[in-house]
């Protein structure tokens, strides 16, 4: 790696201002292939090592609760920073300026909410999935089914977005066909999860987080080196060339309520993402869960601050015209910037980092989906909690393969679709179906089984329905004149609706058992197993 990097650095020194505007993106790139195979070899090696340590369901779902707070901080960051963060934000900022930064901030502010309200109670109350927490004092069957629906809906829309993104990205960068790319991603992620469970998935996240943060830092440093190490000189250069409007809010937020609704989905969605919540079970105790969120917030915040530099760097050094010419969505801004600054070898490195990013995120998503299918639906509902450990592990592995195959098929089916709305859909479902139910069941004595179940179901259904009726689907995709629902993101309506339904239904229904068990749950929120 160091040889390639120093070669890249040499080229920057030699390249200067007339760095070529022609790009080798789309041609097979030997360096990218090399880095990519190195990543695959290392992660499969980790998987082999992890497979030998994965003997029980606790190993498979929760890495034997042996991950340290620092490791989990990196793993949380790895699970969270998807290709949408890296490629998407850099692309948005480079083509629209300030507007893209709304995402940089929005994707971070959910983390303090996770820390203050969810992380510690979750670790103390649950075992493997967030449904464990919601079901702690409720009737198992209806809660598990509703929570599995919320989990699977979130996971599947998130997976589709990542898979379609991966296919397009790999096609652009490696010259592989779209379908081949999807199948390669599918096989690698199934291998990680199937054999290595949460132990392998965690270490894949950690390796990916190092690569992504390292790659982005080098890229940002190379950009700043051209502007006498001053971000303000960079922003000034952007404003000089494209007008002061690039530093101000623009047309992305033409409808103010759209901005507020998107903000709500981003802020509260994080606290309802099943693959993120599941990570809190991998640490030994609530204190480690708490510390891991602090580390993760620092790493993710640092990364999003760098997207300011990468986005404006691409705007000035690559130019929006050149970025849009390669990919209409602007997603190639960061790779193009790497090429301008470090030539083909650095492009290859950044391309491989982006690929690793997607691979790690889909592995985390698949594991959380498999846990919902096996732990919540099979073991808790179908077998009423009576499954042997061997059967649980077998079902979890079958669920992994099933989900992996479904993800590959969906990725191929949705080829060429605009994926941005699917990520926002995943966040909106997580925020509306999962987050209110978690909050109500942990903190409100009067919450009943009927209450949380209706909150989860109404949250999930209302979100999907409102997205279907939104301008994104009705006008942009179905080409209708107008849309019944005015907002692009439904969170502004669906989150309050889900809370209201949960509260009203709880008030009119009776659940003496849930009420009686509240005192015990309230103790366990603080004391966990000790109480």
């Amino acid at each position: 790696m160091s040889a390639a990097l120093s070669a890249a650095l040499l080229q920057v020194a030699a390249g200067g201002e007339n760095a070529a505007r022609t790009t080798s993106i789309g041609e097979p790139n030997a360096v990218a292939m090399g880095f990519f195979f190195a990543f695959i070899s290392v992660t499969l090696g980790i998987t082999y090592w992890a497979a030998r340590k994965t003997r029980t369901t606790e190993d498979f779902y929760a890495a034997g609760r042996s991950i340290s707070a620092g490791q989990n901080g990196f793993a949380l960051a790895g699970d969270y920073m998807s290709a949408a963060s890296f490629l998407g934000i850099a692309g948005l900022v480079s083509t629209t300026g300030f507007d893209g930064l709304i995402y940089s901030t929005g994707w971070l502010v959910g983390w303090p909410v996770v820390l203050f309200l969810i992380a510690e109670p979750l670790r103390n109350l649950g075992k493997y999935t967030f449904a464990d927490v919601v079901a702690a004092r409720m009737r198992q069957t209806p809660v598990r089914i509703a929570a599995a629906i919320g989990t699977l809906a979130t996971v599947i829309f998130y997976l589709i977005a990542q898979m379609v993104g991966a296919g397009g990205l790999i096609k652009l960068m490696f010259g592989l066909s779209y379908e081949t790319a999807i199948v390669v991603v599918g096989i690698a992620m199934i291998a990680y999860v199937l054999f290595g469970g949460m132990i392998a998935t965690t270490w894949v996240q950690i390796v990916k987080a190092f690569l992504l943060l390292g790659g982005a830092t080098i890229l940002a440093a190379l950009v700043l080196s051209k502007f006498s190490w001053s971000p303000l000189a960079l922003f000034s250069a952007a404003a000089e060339r494209y007008g002061a409007t690039v530093l101000a809010p623009g047309k992305l937020v033409a409808n103010p309520w759209d901005a507020v609704s998107l903000g709500m989905a981003l802020m509260f969605g994080t606290a309802g993402l099943p693959h993120i919540l599941m990570r809190f079970y991998t640490v030994p105790d609530a204190q480690a869960a708490r510390k891991s969120v602090f580390y993760a917030t620092g790493l993710i915040g640092f990364f999003y601050l760098m997207t300011f530099i990468l986005g404006f760097g691409a705007m000035v050094l690559v130019t929006p015209e050149a970025i849009v010419a390669v990919d209409k969505g602007g997603n190639m801004a960061a790779p193009l910037l790497a090429e301008v600054l470090g030539g083909t070898p650095f492009l290859g490195f950044i391309a491989a980092v982006a690929f690793a990013t997607i691979l790690a995120v889909v592995a985390g998503l698949t594991l959380s989906g498999a846990a919902a299918l096996s732990h919540d639906l099979w073991v808790s509902v179908a077998r009423k909690g009576e499954a042997t450990p061997i059967e649980q592990l077998r079902v979890a592995r079958i669920a992994t393969v099933v989900l992996g195959v479904i993800a590959v098929m969906l990725g191929i089916t949705f080829k060429g679709q605009n994926v941005a709305y699917m990520v926002s859909l995943a966040f909106a479902i997580a925020a509306s179906a999962n987050f209110p139910a978690l909050l109500l069941s942990i903190f409100w004595r009067g919450c009943t089984t009927m209450g949380v179940v209706s909150s989860m179901l109404v949250g999930a259904l209302a979100t999907v329905l409102l997205i279907y009726l939104s301008p994104t689907i009705q006008v942009d995709i179905l080409q209708h004149e107008s849309a019944w629902f005015p907002l692009k993101n439904p969170a502004l309506v669906s989150i309050p609706l889900s809370f209201a339904v949960g509260i009203v239904v709880s008030l009119v229904s009776r659940d003496p058992e849930a009420r009686a068990k509240f005192a015990e749950v309230a103790r366990r929120v603080h004391l966990g197993g000790r109480g």
Partner: protein, 88 residues
């Protein structure tokens, strides 16, 4: 086990959690509402190259992290010690 002391600690943690969450909501939605309803202000320059919007955006990220730091400090120092004494 001192039930009364646990109840007091639980109520304190709840108040801190709610106060910090509300702070976060006010900061972030304040930022979003400024973008939505006063884009001109967000576009005005503090110094050349630095608009109010970019400055506030970076501050939202930094302050979010400082809030998590503050909570973790309190929880590590006070909350954990109380819990340890309680469960003796």
């Amino acid at each position: 086990m001192n039930e009364e002391r646990l109840r007091v600690l639980s109520a304190l943690r709840m108040r801190i959690a709610i106060a910090l969450t509300l702070t976060m909501i006010v900061i972030y939605f304040g930022f979003i509402l400024l973008i939505a309803f006063n884009p001109a202000l967000m576009g005005s320059l503090v110094v050349p190259g630095l608009s109010v919007g970019i400055l506030l955006g970076a501050l939202v990220i930094v302050v979010s992290w400082l809030l998590t730091w503050g909570y973790v400090r309190w929880a590590n120092d006070y909350y954990d010690r109380e819990l340890a004494e309680l469960s003796k």
